[in-house]
């Protein structure tokens, strides 16, 4: 019954910063498989929600379950080891290392050789091979030995996804992978996300601002507003939802 297994669940999850209730009582459930989008106006708490479920921030209250285990307050590196991968809204890579080394380091993290401190790292070629294959998967083939700093923005965004993919996470959190991407580059990146979805080894939660992207590739959509879930449903249901329209039109604008 792998297809219906609950991968991630939050119960009454809260994250308050002083008086600001960034996440305020969220009950959220993700079953294995497919792609779920989280949308909402700016400041709705989407990124904070990601930070809490990925272990970067401790919740103020509430519970998080991942793979059926209570993981509330787990440090981020343990959640990553359990199979939670994450990309960032603001490109968060290793700027002075090569593209290959960015992904190779990510691949190495899943292995058993991290505390080998005597042999040369290139002797552990399995990580390098894996990195090559992932770079091919995210369409960065040919860029491997380039310093990351000199990559065009679109390629940096792909690399961001590549790093998140490297550990073969069960759950992949993509925080606005298309941030700052031009309209011309957009199909390439959305195509990439669709490919990952089609391959089917990852369940994806996507935070995204562009409605056209979201409606095209999501199986389900959750709408956040003021730290709470406003609506949840298939893309069509969300499009037709009056409350959602109100929040978007009346609540600080869309993007």
């Amino acid at each position: 019954m792998a297809a219906t297994e609950v991968l991630l669940e939050t119960q009454n999850l809260k994250k308050h910063f002083g008086g600001l209730k960034a996440v305020d009582g969220v009950d959220f459930k993700v079953n294995e498989g497919g792609l779920i989008s989280i949308i909402g106006p700016n400041g709705a708490g989407k990124t904070t929600f990601f930070n809490v479920i990925s272990g970067t921030l401790r919740p103020t209250a509430g519970k998080v379950f991942f793979l059926g285990r209570g993981v509330t307050g787990y440090p981020a590196h343990r959640l990553a080891q359990m199979g939670l991968g994450r990309s960032f809204q603001i490109t968060n890579i290793f700027p002075r290392l090569t593209v290959l080394e960015n992904v190779r380091l990510a691949c190495q993290s899943a292995g058993e050789d991290n505390f080998r401190f005597w042999q040369h790292y290139r002797k552990f070629s399995q990580y390098e091979e894996k990195a090559y294959s992932i770079l091919e998967r995210v369409r960065l083939k040919g860029r491997e030995l380039q310093p990351t700093l000199s990559l065009p923005h679109g390629d940096k965004r792909k690399l961001e996804v590549a790093i998140a993919l490297a550990r073969d996470p069960r759950l992949l959190l993509l925080d606005e992978p298309t941030a700052g991407i031009s309209t011309e580059e957009l199909p390439e990146l959305t195509g990439l996300i669709e490919d990952i979805k089609k391959e089917g080894s990852q369940t994806i939660i996507l935070v995204e601002h562009r409605m056209d992207v979201v409606t095209a590739i999501s199986d389900r959509i959750t709408v956040f507003n003021r730290g709470q879930i406003l609506a949840e449903g298939t893309p069509q249901e969300i499009m037709d939802n009056e409350e959602v329209q109100k929040a978007y039109l009346g609540g600080g604008g869309s993007e």
């Binding site: 970067t56 990510a106 190495q108």
Partner: protein
């Protein structure tokens, strides 16, 4: 080992081999005790600077208290020698354990505070030990230091000590080089570049910082131990901030984030201060000017030129600026 591999090794390490070879041959060509002594201190401080660079250049940890390890090594040998009958092997073993404990304490702080705050805590920790040494003068001799540091008999001969110190430096260099090119070393470089991302990749940063600090601590404290064995007295200045500044300067002048940089930096700083102090009374001013010129015109350090990487760094104003950025709260 086939011939091709041997040849390849020689070609890749040609400068290292020439340099070490020259150092081995040197005392047989010109045996001058004065120069031999100077070279011994250079070897020891080069190893010390290398250990500092493992933190600064390869893990991205800025410590203002690295002299603590050096001074700890110095006083441990002096104290062991005076109050125990331990063999030298067990002295160094105990010293390594002590360095590990200090490294653990520093790592715990490093996980909680960053940048300038971590630097200040390491400074405070070193100063604490400095005060301890000063106030326990019944055992440590206070300001006067502890003369008559024990050393193995074969090190009583200056030439032997020369080769011992050279061997120590070469060993430290080889260990450091293997270490930074190993999977673990690559993780440290990743932490230097982007710690947050390493955490999200499942790396337990604590363990790696502990590893790096422990290794740097062991090398640093062994350097201090060997140094006092040579100069035959342990004194409080080995523990104080000036010693840390010296090692920081050696690393920056030579080239942060390289292995040969700190070695040449140590040689340059030691030679310069030796030369200047014997010719000018106010030599420290001249030294300061030279240091400023190096930082301004060679922001990567004299030997810090890694292609591509150095261009990136140059655009950002060199290591000093990089350090300044990191120190920002």
């Amino acid at each position: 080992m086939d011939a091709k591999k041997v040849l390849q090794f020689f070609r890749a390490n040609i400068w290292l081999i020439i340099l070490v070879g020259a150092m081995i041959v040197y005392p047989f060509i010109s045996y001058q005790p004065y120069w031999l002594s100077l070279l011994i201190t250079i070897f020891v401080f080069a190893a010390f600077a290398l250990s500092y660079d493992l933190l600064l250049g390869f893990t991205g940890l800025i410590s203002f208290g690295h002299a603590l390890f050096f001074g700890m090594g110095a006083y441990s040998i002096a104290l062991f020698g005076r109050f125990t009958d331990l063999s030298f092997g067990s002295m160094f073993l105990l010293l390594a354990v002590a360095a590990g404990i200090i490294a653990l304490i520093k790592t715990i702080f490093a996980m909680r505070v960053r940048g300038i705050y971590f630097a200040m805590i390491t400074l405070a920790l070193a100063q604490f030990f400095w005060v301890l040494v000063m106030s326990l003068s019944r055992y440590t001799g206070g300001e006067d230091g502890m003369p008559r540091v024990p050393r193995p008999d074969f090190l009583g001969d200056r030439l032997n000590f020369y080769f011992f110190a050279l061997g120590f430096l070469v060993l430290v260099y080889i260990i450091s080089r293997r270490f930074i090119n190993s999977p673990t070393g690559r993780v440290l470089i990743g932490i230097r570049e982007n710690e947050e991302r390493m955490v999200m990749l499942g790396y337990n940063v604590f363990k790696y910082k502990l590893f790096s600090l422990t290794l740097a601590g062991i090398i640093g404290s062994f350097s201090g131990a060997i140094y006092v064995m040579f100069i035959n007295i342990a004194y409080p200045a080995l523990l104080d901030i000036q010693n840390t500044i010296d090692v920081l300067m050696m690393t920056i002048v030579g080239g942060v984030g390289t292995l040969h940089g700190p070695i040449f930096g140590a040689a340059l700083v030691r030679l310069l201060s030796h030369f200047l102090s014997s010719h000018f009374r106010q030599w420290i001013i001249i030294f300061g000017i030279i240091y400023i010129l190096i930082v301004v015109f060679l922001p990567l350090g004299i030997f810090g030129g890694i292609p591509g990487f150095s261009r990136w760094l140059e655009k950002r104003g060199g290591w000093l600026k990089w350090i300044a950025q990191r120190l920002k709260p």
